[in-house]
Amino acid sequence: MDISQKIRKAASQTEYIDVRTLSSDSEEILVENGNLSSLRKEFGFKYGVRAFYKGAWGFSHANDIKKFDSVLRDAIKLAKLNATKVKEEFRLADYPTQKANIKFKGRDPTSVGLEPKLKKIIEISKLLNKKEIENRTVGAAFAKHENSFFNSAGSETTETRYAYNFRSTVVGKKSGQIFRAFERFGKTLGYQDFEKINSRKTAELIHQRLLSNFKSKQAPAGRLPIVIDPRLCGVFFHEAVGHACEADAILEKSSVLAGKLGNRIAPESITLIDTPNIEEENGYYHFDSEGIPSAETVLIKNGILNNFLQSRETASKMHMAPTGNGRAESPEHMPCPRMSNTVLRAGTHSFEEALVGIKLGVYAKGSSGGVVEPTNGNFLFNAQEAFLIQNGKITKPLRDVSFGGNILEVLSKIEIVCKDSQRTFMGGVCGKKGQHVPVGEFCPHIKISEAMVGGDTNA
């Protein structure tokens, strides 16, 4: 079927049409306590059609390509119907036509049989079979996604993405208490990278993390200085700042950063960038879901709010340039401004310097999740691991540490940005408006002079 020809023919009925298709092939392996829990292969095809007319979108999607003509008609019909509801028309700004066919590097992970992957997962599971570990789950997922984009202006792009992720959680009991530890990572790389995973080192890391957690105590609660590692720093800037920089939240006035472009919102040491162009990180891509090439966007420059993340629609409404951040989980969802990889520019301090002067504080590492309310700027994150800082030294392990606060208040309290930026490869996904997209982070350690830490006020 010549999709380009069909939409060029139909374009006379509207101002603009685009079509996204996704051919996907994915696999999942999950082993619990040495027993297979999931061995799954999924393949399929989806497509979504958007039509734009006098400031309004019509959108329709399906799996069955034989229904394309009726799906295209539905999208155009909805666009025209919706145009009668739009109060203020806007013109979708033009964008140069793109033609490309890109394949991510490496060997398609779904072209390799399941046996060697299953073998490695079972191997790691066996290495985690320790007497102090009561429950262990080890799993991996592999995917090949062929995303194609066509629009009525003549763009035709195809991007074939390979990705894998690894997850493991262990649970142990000590002195009647239950503790857990986990590890996860993911890359947009082919199978050859998964093959290189050292089963022994991976199992040992998780095991040692659990042993450290056995010694952990309840964290002190209250307003304390906190040093956060590159992973948690990435999650903090993604959740607490990145979402507030998404242009749809700015236009909806549901972002605490609305009206603050050009204002100082952070110390001069803070320069925050969104960029899809970090190969291997989860948020790596060449074209967004609107066919716009990926680009680096400086969100905060030396503490000053500098830019927002745009889709074609938000860029048109704000009379700014699209930034290549119009992303959608799949052709079944409408694109909207989303982050890719969140990068905090490295500072000049060492990690040791960040600890100096802290009489009582917390060192928090990794993330087990977080949430933010962009409307009012409140956020909360849970650390994967944490330690007490006493008189400038890392001392006891702490458990279930969370830290929260208000974005603008906490940003103003960032005292130190270290020079040790690291790729996090957390393989995480970001959820917004009911859809999830893969994202990554590249950040250093930072010190916040004061943040709310959840724990026990008597600890």
Binding site: E42, A56, G454
Partner: protein, 429 residues
């Protein structure tokens, strides 16, 4: 479609036992953002799932292209052949009947974008009349037909409809949001009015001091913790794999005597009511906790065989073995009104929502979460809205001492829950 599924199950019999399910869905939605129309959409999706089983081995494949069922079957069989053996056999459900469940509302199926747009516009206008901004209001209708067949000639098909509504209002720093999901048409304006009222009542937030005090959690806050911590603790595979707080606690009284919990797949008007679970076992009402004593867990066929018991009809997906989930997870209501519960609070906080429920430790029950749309309560009276408070406590410990439960319950997910009051909770601000 049942004929096709039965044909697939028969075709695969030369390789082993086959389970096949097909979901065909249609969805329509309308959203308004920043006080103005944003988008409307329609969509159709099919998902064919095939599981091949032989003794203790299984393989599973999924496709969105029903016409490629033969490839899907071959893939599932191929995976079954390479899969390692499980400790126990995988049993298929046998042909059984169950009562019908009526949760298909033709009126929802007939909703089009224009009708749904009218719901959204009415809600929006209510907020604009009060000079509030509306970052988001959305209405979604969905209908789904689920069909299933297996090599044991168990088969079924049923249709379900869902209407969902959500609105968020803001005014300055304050915000309010409400939503509802139901299998029948409902009055969306009621929830719009609740969101507006919440936003207005959240103005002029003030911080509270770090303290230990009472916490009264409204439905959304409480059900968030229940679904992330309590509910999964009852899944039999987590018990068997020692990944649950309830391991070793069957028959023990570990919760407050005021707590009674059931899982009921046949609940009248239950959002997650279904005649059969994902592997074709009839659903039922299972008493999990009675007056504080743990009575039962939730099983699918595989986990039930390990414990030499019967499935409770709680298999949620044939893709994993086991794969257990709750249907309608119901906390029995108490006998107090919300007003009566607040009256007895000398010092505390009433909170609608919590932030970060998905980050909690579901095994230990330790939580540190933020509160959202919360109000200080002093000497039984609701006072100022609270700014930026967190709470830290152990959820299982808190459930041991819960004494006040509201008589009104609500269901917006697979948790049907009342308001509850917890005493002596650590607040951090």
């Amino acid at each position: 479609m049942l004929d096709l599924l039965t044909k697939i199950a028969k075709s695969g019999q030369k390789y082993g036992e086959i389970l096949v399910s097909l979901s065909s869905a249609k969805e329509t939605s309308v959203t308004y953002e920043q006080n103005e129309f944003n988008s409307s959409s329609t969509g159709y999706s099919d998902l064919l799932k095939i599981k091949a089983v032989k003794g203790r081995k299984f393989g599973f494949a999924v496709t969105t292209d029903v016409s490629k069922w033969e490839d899907c079957l071959k893939t599932a069989v191929k995976m079954m052949k390479i899969s390692p053996e499980l400790p126990s056999e995988i049993q298929l459900s046998v042909p059984t009947k169950n009562k019908k469940i009526e949760h298909f509302d033709k009126r929802i199926d007939q909703l089009n974008c224009e009708k749904m747009d009218a719901y959204a516009v009415s809600a929006l206008n209510l907020a604009l009349d009060k000079k509030l901004d509306v970052p988001n209001v959305g209405v979604t209708s969905a209908t789904e037909t689920l069909s299933f067949a297996n090599s044991n000639q168990q088969s079924y098909s049923y249709s379900k409809s869902l209407l969902s509504f959500f609105m968020e209002c803001v005014h300055g720093e304050s915000s309010g949001s409400e939503g509802h999901v139901f299998t029948k048409i409902f009055d969306t304006q009621k929830y719009a009015k609740d969101a507006i009222e919440m936003c207005i009542e959240s103005e002029n937030m003030r911080p509270i001091k770090t303290m230990k005090a009472d916490l009264v959690l409204d439905y959304f806050g409480f059900s968030n913790l229940v679904s992330n911590i309590l509910m999964p603790s009852f899944y039999a595979d987590r018990i068997q794999n020692k990944r649950s707080f309830l391991t070793g606690k069957l028959g023990k009284k570990i919760f407050s005597k005021n707590l009674t919990i059931t899982d009921n797949g046949m609940l009248n008007d239950g959002l997650f009511s279904m005649p059969f679970d994902a592997e074709g076992t009839p659903t039922q009402k299972t008493v999990l906790v009675e007056n504080g004593t743990v009575k039962n867990f939730l099983y699918d066929n595989y986990s039930a065989l390990i414990n030499k018991t019967k499935s409770t009809g709680n298999c949620m997906d044939i893709g994993r073995t086991p794969c257990i989930g709750a249907t309608n997870f119901c906390i029995k209501p108490g006998d107090l009104t919300k007003e009566e519960m607040l009256e007895s609070v000398k010092l505390g906080v009433f909170s609608k929502y919590i932030m970060g429920g998905h980050t909690v430790n579901e095994i230990t029950g330790d939580i540190s979460v933020g509160l959202s749309n919360a109000w200080l309560v002093e000497k039984g009276k609701i006072g100022c809205p609270v700014k930026q408070a967190m709470v830290s406590f152990n959820f299982f410990d808190a459930l041991k001492q819960v004494s006040e439960i509201s008589r009104k319950i609500r269901q917006e997910s697979n948790v049907a829950a009342p308001l509850v009051k917890f005493k002596d909770i650590q607040f951090i601000s």
